[in-house]
């Protein structure tokens, strides 16, 4: 698959940009390596007394030219590379998000938001850093070292002297790749403990009422204190290696210089090399410390990011569980009955049947209520109807068409679904209600809000329908969220509506109003209502009671009451004292 090679694809499609950038960087570094040589020649001429004033000016101008060209050429090269890296980030994130929208609930139930976010944040960043840094620093370092070496050789400095001076520096990449991963591991531990403390704070402030009510503040403080101390200990543990790392590289640089001065000085004294060469040599040695460190860094980053790249490629290769067949078509669900025949279903990774041999026919325009306790399979049935999971072929049909032969667009745009949790997005209330068509006319939004009994709450906010929800806005209560979510379902005005325990957090008076509204609104249109409360179900044309994945009772409210089964018990529990209130 193409996704397997996201990085290779990117690099091949941009190779000419990279080539340009590399050429710029190479040119810059070659020019820069003339700097010590120029100073060396300058020294020799001074030493030999061949210096004249114009020559001095010429040298200083030459040095300036070297510096400026290095800065400009190197800067352009660097910018091109970094920009390409960021573009990679942009493209990859877009790909990832697009991919996320195709993956189904089965995938999300196994992969938490935190884990998926880390793909978008950490993995993409790691790969981007490694390509930007890799190209920039590898080019920089290789060219600097190569040209420094060439320059030294050209300037008739003996090979053995160069070798001796550079020898201590050779340990730099070795130290970087040796200590680098240890530093990284320890700094991850620090990050980890920071995360733990944040979690602890989150927990404590979330549960502050409970903590206060049980008057256990000192205990909680101790718990939090332990998390804080852990950070400090981990930090100090980290700094022990990281400062060793920081100190040892300049130390090796200094060691090289000691050799240079001692050995080079000896040779200068004995006139085997000129003073100019001696000066140039000290400068070249200094020049090589950084590139060697960079090479070590690049190796480390590459190693880290290889894992990230693999993770991204693996993620992009995940095939969506729900896929449209090639010949998928669309039908009008207004006149299509829903046929459920011999439907048995178990969740992937589970050996237990969530639904057992369900047979149900819902005529167009009818209202069906579904009751049953938590885990009885009500929501599973709804998810199959929405094709969140795939039911076995032939078990669910709309009219004459199997659900799997319908395009997802045709299916989902004709069903309005109101989930229990009332999930809302951090945009305006208006955008949340008009989620299906963001440019719905405002009066229709208002109308939906009125129907869902949320209008008066919304108009109490200073910015009314333009009020922002979420972290940077206001927080709605559970009941308000459910009603807003209901308005979002109502406005869609679809042939089929599914209410999945959508009014559980609403008080009984409001619930009553909502049920009445749904009855008039959904007259002669197919509606499925899942509810715990009998009051929400009793008006349905048919009520189905599920237990452990099977239909155990079905009929109208009155038929089921007469039957004296689960439904009747439910009714009795909820409406206890009914006889007392007999009017």
């Amino acid at each position: 698959m193409k996704a397997q090679q996201i990085l290779r694809d990117y690099l091949t499609s941009k190779w000419y940009f990279y080539l340009t950038a590399i050429l710029f960087i190479v040119a810059a570094n070659i020019i820069n390596s003339f700097f010590p040589r120029l100073l060396g020649r300058f020294t020799d001429q001074l030493d030999q007394g061949q210096m004249t004033q114009p020559v001095i000016v010429e040298y200083s101008l030459l040095l300036l030219a070297v510096g400026v060209s290095f800065a400009v050429l190197g800067g352009i090269g660097q910018y091109i590379v970094v920009r390409l890296g960021r573009l990679f980030e942009f493209v990859t994130r877009r790909k990832l998000f697009g991919h996320f929208t195709t993956l189904s609930e089965q995938f999300y139930s196994k992969n938490g938001v935190g884990k998926l976010l880390s793909y978008v944040m950490n993995d993409v960043t790691a790969v981007r850093e490694s390509i930007a840094m890799g190209v920039n620093q590898t080019t920089n370092a290789t060219i600097t070292i190569l040209s420094a070496m060439t320059m030294m050789l050209l300037s008739s400095i003996p090979l053995y002297l160069i070798g001796a001076c550079v020898l201590p520096l050779a340990a730099i990449p070795w130290i970087v790749t040796g200590i680098g991963p240890v530093v990284r591991k320890r700094s991850l531990t620090v990050q980890d403990s920071l995360g733990k403390m944040t979690e602890a704070a989150e927990e404590q402030f979330g549960g502050i009422r409970v903590t206060k009510k049980f008057a256990v503040e000192p205990i909680m403080m101790r718990r939090f204190g332990a998390a804080v101390d852990q950070i400090r200990d981990n930090q100090l543990h980290l700094v022990r290696v990281s400062s060793l790392f920081q100190a040892s590289i300049p130390f090796l640089g200094a060691l090289s210089l000691v050799v240079t001065v001692a050995f080079g000085g000896y040779l200068t004294i004995h006139d085997r090399i000129t003073l100019g060469n001696f000066v140039a040599l000290t400068l070249y040695v200094r020049m090589m410390v950084n590139p060697l460190q960079q090479i070590g860094n690049v190796i480390n980053t590459m190693q880290r990011s290889r894992a990230s790249l693999e993770r991204i490629n693996e993620l992009l290769a995940v095939k969506p569980d729900i896929q449209e067949v090639e010949s998928s078509g669309s039908i009008d669900l207004r006149h299509a009955a829903i046929h459920i025949r011999n439907l048995s279903f178990s969740y992937p990774d589970s050996d237990r049947y969530a639904l057992h041999n369900i047979n149900l026919k819902i005529e167009p325009g009818k209202t069906v209520g579904i009751a049953g306790k938590t885990g009885s399979g009500k929501t599973t049935l709804m998810k199959l109807l929405l094709r969140v999971y795939d039911a076995p072929r032939g078990t669910i049909r709309f009219g004459e068409v199997d659900i799997r032969d319908l395009s997802l667009e045709s299916l989902r745009s004709q069903i309005s679904y109101v989930p229990q949790d009332g999930f809302l997005f951090s945009t305006t209330i208006r955008d949340n209600i008009a989620f299906y068509h963001r440019d719905t006319a405002f009066d229709r939004v208002e109308d939906a809000a009125r129907k869902a009994q949320i209008y008066s709450n919304i108009t109490e906010f200073p910015e009314q329908f333009e009020t922002k929800l979420g972290e940077r806005g206001i927080t709605l209560s559970g009941g308000q969220r459910q009603r807003t979510s209901l308005a979002r379902g109502i406005i869609k005005d679809s042939p089929i509506m599914i209410l999945d325990d959508s009014v559980s957090a609403v008080d009984s008076i409001t619930e009553k109003k909502i049920i009445n509204m749904i009855r008039s609104e959904r007259r002669n249109r197919t509606t499925l209502i899942i509810a715990h409360r009998v009051s929400a179900l009793k008006h349905a044309d048919e009520i189905v009671v599920l237990d452990e994945g099977r239909i155990v009772e079905r009929g109208t409210h009155h038929e089921l009451l007469a039957h004296q089964g689960i439904y009747a018990t439910l009714h009795a529990i909820q409406e206890e004292g009914n006889s007392d209130a007999a009017l």
Binding site: A71, T101, A201, I208, R209, F214, L236, P250, A254, E576
Partner: protein, 587 residues
């Protein structure tokens, strides 16, 4: 924002205990930078005294090398020491601030938590204090190390040649100007790109969480477009930031080259006229090249310094919030075991804000051991009444007494042990089940915990779990059902034995079966306790000794279920609604 004196004064008060460590740190820094800075000078001596003159005194050259070698080793050691000392002091200070801040926040009143979203509190405790950490490890380190390096270089330059040094100093104001101008702009671009990034990530996080909804409403394309907008904004903001950075760094580089050229020219002339020796020029060139690094590093700290000052003042703001509900100067200790549980609300008035009262002249007297049901719509004042009894807030007028003692005279910690509260959303901590039941109080034995769980019927459920009572709850009990969580919170109540128990819609959000289980537990829990139950499902409170009906912050009806129905008033209406009989009556 300018860092104000008082906020940084608070930071310095935390630093004071570590002043010796800081002093040592400064000494170590001085020794650490010495080798790097003396190197050009030593080479200069080598050149001028040995090589150039051609005295062929190799011994002296070796001495210079040995000195340099010794300096390098000491630099190695002291760099190591310097980092460790600074971290030790910095980390200890940050840990102290974190603990103090946490302690202070826990002491604050509920009104504070109602005003302040917990998200921003978490930011204060974790991110703002982490910024302080950066202040110590980056800003302080850089100011001391780079500041001293700079001074050192300048001193060395003057030592070498005053005229040349003076010429070089002309550069300083130019560098400073460029640095300041750039940094202000860079800060802006940096912030713009950070904001764009966090918006982007927040958007992805939310969309991942709501993906089922996006798919159910077939909004994949629309959301993808919105994502691309944010992605693009971030990309652009980011490039802007990078461009500024590259231009700044390269300008600095060029400035460096310019000054080297300048020194070569002036110095070359001087050597030419033999007013200085060549070694001096060599050292000068090396120093001027070292000159730019520390300046660049120090100016980089400006950003961190800015965010530190913001963080410090935010932390200080939290520290300066006093708890609104305080223990009285003279408190009356109650013997927990002797508390009977009589509660009197005497003509209380209360509002969260001035001018908008939520409870008007409410008078309610509850006998020890009585079970009271409280009914009313949202906003009727039920929860406010409960908050007042828990003393999350203080009444504006009137008084609340327990066994005749005003709750404002009881130490808060005691009051909280006397009055227990079970909420709609039971809160579980990450940790084992046994610790959750005893609230991590190790003085409560495991046996007590098990006994309590058995009483409320949680024992059976807990035993079915893989590790029984030692099962670790992840993410606040997300693996448990709402009913199971509620049972655990009931067991807590049994363990802590409050004399007064409040159940705030504790059975909402449960299906009828679980509700029955809870109802049984409730009967156990409310035994021998004064119990107040708030419920919008009336089935929970039908058996209460007395039902209080609240409306608009007043008690409008009270009596037993039967008495209230006979009144044919607001309660009856309420009851009929909940039965779904309204329509039968109207139609």
């Amino acid at each position: 924002m300018q860092p104000s004196k008082s906020t940084f004064g608070f930071l310095f008060s935390y630093m004071r205990p570590y002043r010796v460590t800081f002093l040592l740190f400064i000494c170590c820094t001085l020794l650490a930078i010495a080798a790097d800075l003396l190197q050009p000078y030593l080479v200069k001596i080598a050149i001028d005294n040995n090589l150039l003159i051609g005295t062929n005194d190799y011994r002296q050259l070796l001495i210079i090398c040995s000195i340099y070698f010794g300096l390098s080793i000491s630099s190695f050691l002291f760099t190591y020491l310097q980092n460790n000392l600074l971290q030790k002091a910095g980390q200890s200070i940050v840990a102290r601030i974190r603990k103090d801040l946490f302690e202070h926040i826990t002491k604050l009143s509920m009104s504070f938590f109602d005003r302040m979203p917990s998200g921003s509190l978490i930011t204060h405790v974790s991110s703002d204090t982490e910024t302080l950490n950066q202040f110590f490890t980056q800003v302080l380190l850089s100011v001391v190390r780079d500041g001293m390096t700079l001074i050192f270089i300048i001193v060395m330059m003057f030592q070498l040649d005053v005229t040349l040094a003076l010429y070089c100093l002309i550069l300083l104001p130019v560098i400073a100007l460029i640095a300041i101008a750039f940094r202000t702009y860079m800060r802006k671009t940096y912030q713009a790109s950070r904001t764009a990034y966090s918006r982007l990530i927040a958007f992805v996080a939310e969309n991942l969480a709501g993906m089922n909804l996006i798919q159910a409403f077939h909004q994949e394309k629309e959301q993808q477009n919105q994502f691309t907008d944010r992605n693009q904004t971030y990309f652009r903001a980011n490039l802007q930031e990078i461009r500024t950075n590259v231009v700044f760094n390269r300008t600095f580089d060029m400035l460096g080259s310019l000054s080297v050229a300048f020194v070569v020219w002036l110095g070359g002339e001087a050597v030419f006229h033999q007013s200085i020796e060549f070694g001096v020029l060599y050292a000068f060139i090396t120093y001027i090249r070292q000159f730019f690094q520390p300046i660049s590093t120090i100016t980089q700290q400006w950003n961190t310094l800015q965010s530190t000052s913001v963080s410090v003042s935010r932390i200080w703001n939290i520290f300066s919030v006093p708890p609104e509900v305080k223990d009285a100067a003279v408190v009356r200790d109650l013997d927990l075991k002797q508390v009977k549980g009589r509660i009197d609300f005497d003509h209380i008035r209360f509002g969260y804000r001035e001018g908008s009262p939520v409870i008007h002249d409410l008078d309610l007297h509850i006998r020890p051991g009585e079970m009271i049901g409280i009914v009313g719509t949202t906003g009727a004042g039920k929860s406010s009444l409960i908050s007042l009894l828990c003393r999350f807030y203080d009444v504006n007028e009137g008084s609340i007494t327990i066994d005749g003692v005003d709750i404002r005279e009881i130490p808060q910690r005691q009051l909280h042990r006397i009055v227990g509260l079970v909420q709609q959303e039971p809160f579980l901590y990450s940790g084992s089940i046994v610790d959750n039941i005893r609230m991590f109080d190790e003085s409560i034995s495991r046996e007590e915990v098990i006994r309590a769980s058995r009483l409320v019927g949680a024992d059976e459920i807990v035993r079915r779990m893989k590790h029984g009572y030692d099962t670790l709850l992840s993410e606040r009990g997300s693996g448990l059902s709402a009913g199971e969580r509620q049972l655990i919170s009931f067991a807590r109540i049994i363990v802590f034995q409050p004399k007064v128990l409040i159940l705030d819609e504790a059975t909402a959000n449960l299906d009828s079966y679980t509700e029955q289980l809870i109802q049984k537990a409730l009967n156990v829990v409310s035994e021998q306790r004064t119990t107040l139950v708030i419920a919008h499902r009336l089935s929970t409170i039908l058996e209460a000794d007395r039902i209080i009906v609240m409306r608009g912050g007043r008690i409008v009806e009270e009596g037993s279920h039967r008495q209230l129905l006979e009144l044919h008033g607001y309660y009856e209406q309420f009851y009929l609604h909940s039965l779904g009989k309204m329509e039968a009556g109207a139609g």
